[in-house]
Amino acid sequence: MKRRPFLQSTLAASALLLTGLFPYTAQAAETIKVGILHSLSGTMAISETSLKDMALMTIDEINAKGGLLGKKLEPVVVDPASNWPLFAEKSRQLLTQDKVDVVFGCWTSVSRKSVLPVFEELNGLLFYPVQYEGEEMSPNVFYTGAAPNQQAIPAVEYLMSEDGGSAKRFFLLGTDYVYPRTTNKILRAFLHSKGVADKDIEEVYTPFGHSDYQTIVANIKKFSAGGKTAVISTVNGDSNVPFYKELGSQGLEATDIPVVAFSVGEEELRGIDTKPLVGQLAAWNYFQSVENPVNTEFVTKWKAYAKAKNLPNYQTAVTNDPMEATYVGINMWAQAVTKAGTTDVDKVRDALAGQTFAAPSGYTLTMDKTNHHLHKPVMIGEVQDDGQFSIVWQTEGPLRAQPWSPFIPGNDKKPDYAVKSN
């Protein structure tokens, strides 16, 4: 009786399996395929989903202007589900099965490290939009986020300046993984070079997903009794809320002990009541509150897009640094394709060197001629009660990235141009 449906479902299941193994390849080449490799589920979805939407918006925008080389761009969205080996698998799929010409994606360093060998093996092209710890320069990756010298070091310089509160002691707080550890290593070397002694630097790490900051905040308080203290936070996304809430409830204000964060932007602040946070700092290369016509247009477009696509909570849609980096990356790639007249990876790579783009940050950003990183301005923003940042300090102009930080021994021998890691 039940036999037929069962058989059918089994057949259907095996069909699913087969299509999974052998995805249909390529249609005609009327479009240029663009891969988007951001986690839409799992722990990283919180950060990466908006980058996917931003990429789609930018692609729409380019298509609205007639596409590239007379062809439309066709986005191919996949979900690596915050699973690092899946990132490698998906990138291979994008490059060999879907035959995309470029991929925009990844957030965490580990996901980038996971796909890197694939991109190098298949000579693909990846645009990576997030600030990271540096120590990498692959010919197959363009890094549109900040290297440590484009974010962390200027932030600390600001804290040591009179306007930043002339901090003498530094509490380096991070989640225990590679980016915070490396950044703090660089910062410690930098602080040493500025004459800060080891007794005035405290490094504390918490496990992933840590949510109880009572002891740590108490320790910060204790540490701060020894002199003007600043906290440099590389706490990972989700742990920030309990950390800031604890700061607020133990009565630590930014005027006493400023906290500068490298992973807290507008998007993260959407999930936090910012009133107790006013005055806390963040260092980025872009803030939504930057005032210039390019940014005004950028923000307006994004809000309109969010509303049109009915994204969740579109009423409070914001832009942030990695979104801007995604936007800049796609546009630079488009310019390079136009310049090269082809989507061929080697030609586009050559065309990208020295490419410039008037970015929403208000600066004309340049892709470095050799090191695959963007020249970026650095801005320090203070949290306002409306969830935006007011910019209290910024660099004169864009800085060249130093992916091989001079503060890490041995890096002086590293070449200043991209070479395959293999």
């Binding site: 069962f6 299941a13 999974g20 995805p23 979900d79 690092w84 698998e89 799929q93 890197l116 060998p117």
Partner: protein, 359 residues
């Protein structure tokens, strides 16, 4: 559930058919790497993507089988098998890192400004020693943990929860840069294995064949165990441990044997997984992964040998397909699948197939 019965049943239902299907699958699996060696423009060429994807799923299938040996047969649900898998993978990864580092230190260490290898890295440049570690590390950990757990007669949910705690602790430990395994980035960027380029078609094909061999070997081992008196003691242990003790059997030895065997199989699967996938990092130890492995087994049908393999293939195949076709909805599909299977297919997919055969 009823393993010995099902075996007899399968025999009755036509060993020829089972053998034919099994042989066909094996033939396809053996053909895949050979087809991969064909030139890329050939119509029959199997892409590296397909090969690594199938290779990955086969590794998962071994894990499922190993888990089924302890869960389906001995009734011990481990929610920490990801740990053994990852440990095997890390042991292999250490060797691969040493290979790509040449005479120097692995990249992540020089980056931490370490000047010499930690003691546990000694000898990892030797493939042989790395292979020993692949077996020894998960095996010894399982032995020590199992010895204490079974001595205290921890079973059921308690056992599941402490295995989960174990793998969670392992994950936190490996997350730390200081532990000396590359922190959350783990190991990537492997170059050569035994001197062969890891991305070469030939190397891929050989690795794939090794995986098929390990899978067939484990399957054969499982089959022999299940048909031996040992297998029947395990079944008895699962259903009525007290009765078995009063028959004069010491359950600890039996549990420990199958538990360690299962951990070692997982370690081996992990060791084959790493060079094919190209990365090993602590998220393999996350409790979620281990729960997922339990789901493969339940989905396929536990207490059978083929069921877990089917389950691993089905879930991972679906995952690969869904995450491309409907990226936002694949969790719904996966979740619904679990519910439907537990509610309507208590014996898993294999139970369903058997029912078909019976009619």
């Amino acid at each position: 559930m009823n393993q010995p019965m099902t075996i007899t049943l399968a025999q009755k239902a036509g060993p020829r058919l089972s053998l034919a299907v099994g042989g066909l699958v094996l033939a396809i699996l053996l053909a895949l790497p050979l087809l991969h060696l064909l030139p890329a423009d050939s119509a029959l060429h199997v892409s590296a993507y397909t090969l690594t994807l199938v290779g990955k799923i086969l590794c998962y299938a071994i894990v499922a089988l190993a888990l089924d040996l302890v869960w389906g047969y001995a009734g011990l649900l481990s929610l920490g098998h990801g740990l053994f898998f990852a440990l095997g993978g890390y042991a292999m990864g250490m060797y691969l890192m040493r290979q790509s580092a040449g005479d120097g230190l692995p990249a992540f260490m020089s980056f931490l400004a370490w000047n010499e290898l930690p003691w546990y890295w000694y000898g990892t440049s030797s493939f042989l020693w790395a292979m020993c570690l692949v077996v020894l590390v998960p095996g010894l950990l399982a032995l020590v943990f199992g010895y204490f757990a079974f001595r205290s007669r921890i079973k059921g949910v308690y056992f599941s929860i402490i295995t989960q705690a174990l793998t969670f602790a392992g994950m936190l430990l490996f997350f730390r840069n200081e532990t000396g395994f590359g922190g959350n980035n783990g190991f990537t960027n492997f170059r050569t294995i035994l001197g062969f380029d890891i991305t070469a078609q030939g190397t891929r094909a050989v690795l794939f064949l090794c995986t098929v061999a390990l899978l067939t070997g484990s399957l054969y081992l499982g089959f022999r165990l299940a048909r031996s008196k040992f297998g029947r003691v395990l079944t008895a242990l699962r259903d009525a441990e007290n009765r078995l003790m009063f028959c004069g059997y010491d359950p600890r030895g039996y549990k420990l044997f199958i538990w360690v065997l299962s951990a070692v199989l997982c370690g081996l699967a992990g060791a084959l997984y790493v060079p094919q996938v190209g990365i090993i990092n602590p998220s393999e130890m996350s409790p979620t992964n281990s729960i997922e492995a339990a789901v493969w087994v339940a989905l396929g049908g536990r207490g059978t040998l083929i069921g877990p393999l089917l389950g691993a293939g089905l879930v991972n195949g679906m995952k690969s397909w869904f995450t491309v076709a409907f990226p936002e909805y694949w969790l719904f599909a996966l979740g619904a699948l679990f519910i439907v299977v537990t509610l309507y297919l208590p014996k898993g997919v294999i139970g369903l197939l058997r029912k078909e055969k019976e009619q």
